[in-house]
């Protein structure tokens, strides 16, 4: 499948954090990166390499020191925090390694909340997706009443329910056993294919990496890592 027009376009993206010595440590320095509509890219990187920070920058959870993050033509980096929240709510589905489900809410409510702040989706859509991930019989269960695999499936359903243009997945199989990891991964990939969403997945798990064609090394992308190791 040939890549479509760019959905995500990063340019000169830099992010640093305060260092113990009082200075600042550069964590992310990505001169250029793009992801086309419907494209699936996996970034390989070790723990602590800044992958989550990278995804947080793309999703607008963090603001970069410099650079631009264009999503569908809108520069996330140039927006204020409120507009970033809105853009994230409407265009990005985020799957976290630790699921980040809301413990006081049922499965259905967790998925519905994922849609509420976006622009698309309704209860029927949430029910359909929970059915798609095999949790129709667990709609009113709370996260603590579910297994890890089931929780991750709810998290996947939540991220995809609003039919985002871009799905970010941060070590989505990190807390799952082999069987659940494989199923979760299939689910993410299939639903992204079904909805036409672009997928940017970060992982250091060889099994995950082996199931994708387009795998890139995060160290090759992030200049800050090269400088740190040299």
């Amino acid at each position: 499948m040939s890549p479509g027009p760019a959905l995500l376009q990063l340019s000169g993206l830099r992010k640093s954090f305060p260092a113990p010595d009082g200075g600042r440590k550069l964590i992310i320095d990505v001169p250029d990166f793009s992801l086309a509509m419907g494209e699936h890219i996996v970034l390989r990187g070790e723990s602590g390499s800044g992958k989550t920070t990278f995804l947080n920058l793309i999703s607008g959870i963090l603001a970069p020191d410099s650079g631009s993050i264009r999503i569908g033509g809108v520069d996330m980096a140039a927006l204020g925090e409120h507009r970033r929240d809105l853009l994230r709510g409407s265009s990005i589905g985020y799957i976290f390694q630790t699921f980040n489900l809301l413990q006081g809410y049922s499965c259905l409510e967790n998925v519905m909340l994922g849609m509420t702040f976006g622009t698309r989706g309704d209860k029927a859509q949430a029910l359909a997706l929970l059915g798609r991930v095999g949790l129709s019989h667990r709609l009113n269960h709370y996260p603590r009443q579910l297994s890890s695999g089931q929780q991750q499936r709810v998290a996947v359903a939540r991220a995809l329910a609003k039919r985002p243009k871009l799905v970010l997945a941060d070590e989505p199989t990190g807390n799952l056993d082999h069987k659940n990891a494989r199923e979760a991964l299939e689910l993410v990939r299939e639903t992204c294919l079904e909805t036409g969403a672009a997928l940017l997945l970060v992982s250091h798990d060889p099994e995950v990496l082996g199931t994708f064609h387009n795998v890139r090394d995060f160290a090759g992308l992030n200049v800050a890592l090269k400088e740190a190791s040299s």
Partner: protein, 400 residues
């Protein structure tokens, strides 16, 4: 809908602190409304209750003491006045009705007041309302008979046909029992006036009770007066109070009672201030409860933010939660209010015979809940600001 769901879930997740905080709001709100209504009702009722009389004539002294003694049966009598003074005012062309009373005895703490049968037949104690008996008949003025006020009858356990011995003085002392035996011939229907807590006997009986000074056998303690016109009151006021120096003419009764409330208004103010303070402290409890739970909420806030909830949305959700706690508290406050005012009304009725209309509408029932809810909402601003400032990335752990 989403914000309502988030608030509902948050209240449920912090059910214990929500319940305790709402209960403290309820007690504070109930107390505030009770203090206000009791103050308002007491002032209104006591300045309006005159048992159908415009003025009281008594011995020279304080007008307030005279009114409290003759109308509310609370104070000691300032002294007696000769029968001739009663006869004079009874025949005065400006006077429509004059009822003499004599006090000085009690029945196990309830005042025995001597009067004439006209008190039960002629007096309109409120527009269109005359005293009536729920059982029996009015006493014979020449017999040792009694009519018991409804409240006193209930408390003393007396019914028609029962007998009793009066006790000397206004304070009950078992050693001061009179030898006379009185028989109950009637029990008054409730009038919600001070007359309900009195044991009424013929005035002649009280004047000539064994042990009373025989030289005062025709004296009366006070004369309750109905005037033909308001101007007559001012005329008699000048005659007795300005020109005379022997008697006191207490007129108008409502103004004299209003003066009493004016004198004790400092106490009202202190009570109201305490109620306000309790309300503020309990509303601050909302701030403390939500603020203290912010540590456990940070992760949820971060997740909601990651899902696209704006900072202002979450700020609003916290303020709404504080508002909801206030609203729940104030809904329960009406139960607390009902309990407090009912208890206070019983005490006031026992002391004065006057029944406050505690469940009548008062503006405080509108502004106190609204004020408390607004105060709770204001107390939600600080934790809401903390939620607004929550760092999303820091609270979405772990990182890879």
């Amino acid at each position: 809908m989403t914000i309502a769901l988030i608030v509902r879930r948050s209240l449920r997740q912090h059910a214990l602190s929500t319940t305790i905080t709402a209960l403290s709001i309820a007690l504070a709100g109930g107390l505030l409304m009770s203090v206000w209504v009791v103050k308002e009702q007491a002032q209104r009722t006591f300045t309006q209750v005159n048992t159908g009389f415009d003025a009281v004539l008594g011995a020279r002294g304080s007008k307030l003491q005279l009114v409290l003694n003759a109308i509310f049966h609370l104070e000691a009598s300032p002294g007696n006045l000769p029968a001739s003074d009663y006869e004079y005012i009874r025949r005065h062309p400006a006077v429509k009705l004059a009822i003499p009373i004599a006090v000085g005895d009690n029945l196990r703490g309830y005042r025995i007041v001597g009067t004439i049968p006209e008190f039960f037949t002629e007096v309109e104690y409120a527009p269109g309302r005359h005293f009536s008996l729920s059982a029996g008949r009015v006493f014979d003025p020449s017999a040792k008979e009694a009519v018991i006020g409804s409240f006193a009858a209930r408390r003393l356990g007396l019914a028609v046909g029962d007998t009793f011995h009066p006790f000397h003085g206004l304070v009950y002392d078992v050693r001061n029992q009179h030898a006379e035996t009185y028989r109950v011939t009637g029990v008054m229907a409730p009038s919600n006036t001070p007359a309900d807590k009195v044991v009424w006997i013929p005035i002649h009986g009280l004047q000539t009770m064994s042990g009373h000074d025989p030289r005062a056998a025709t004296d009366v303690s006070a004369v309750l007066v109905q005037l033909r016109s308001p101007s007559a009151g001012f005329m008699l006021d000048i005659m007795y109070n300005k020109q005379g120096n022997r008697l006191t003419f207490a007129y108008p009764i409502g103004a004299i009672m209003a003066e009493l409330f004016q004198k004790i208004s400092w106490f009202d103010k202190i009570l109201t201030m305490v109620a306000y303070l309790v309300a503020v402290v309990s509303a601050a409890g909302v701030l403390v409860a939500i603020y203290n739970s912010m540590a456990s909420r940070r992760r949820d806030i971060a997740i909601l933010r990651a899902l696209g909830a704006g900072r202002l949305f979450l700020f609003g959700a916290i303020v709404l939660e504080a508002t909801a706690i206030g609203a729940i508290g104030m809904a329960v406050a009406f139960v607390a209010y009902a309990g407090i005012v009912s208890a206070v009304a019983v005490v006031i009725q026992a002391q004065t015979g006057v029944l406050l209309e505690t469940f009548a509408y008062s503006p405080v029932m509108l502004w106190a809940p609204l004020g408390m809810i607004a105060l709770c909402a204001a107390c939600g601003l600080l934790p809401a600001w903390k939620a607004y400032r929550t760092d999303v990335a820091e609270n979405l752990s772990p990182i890879s």
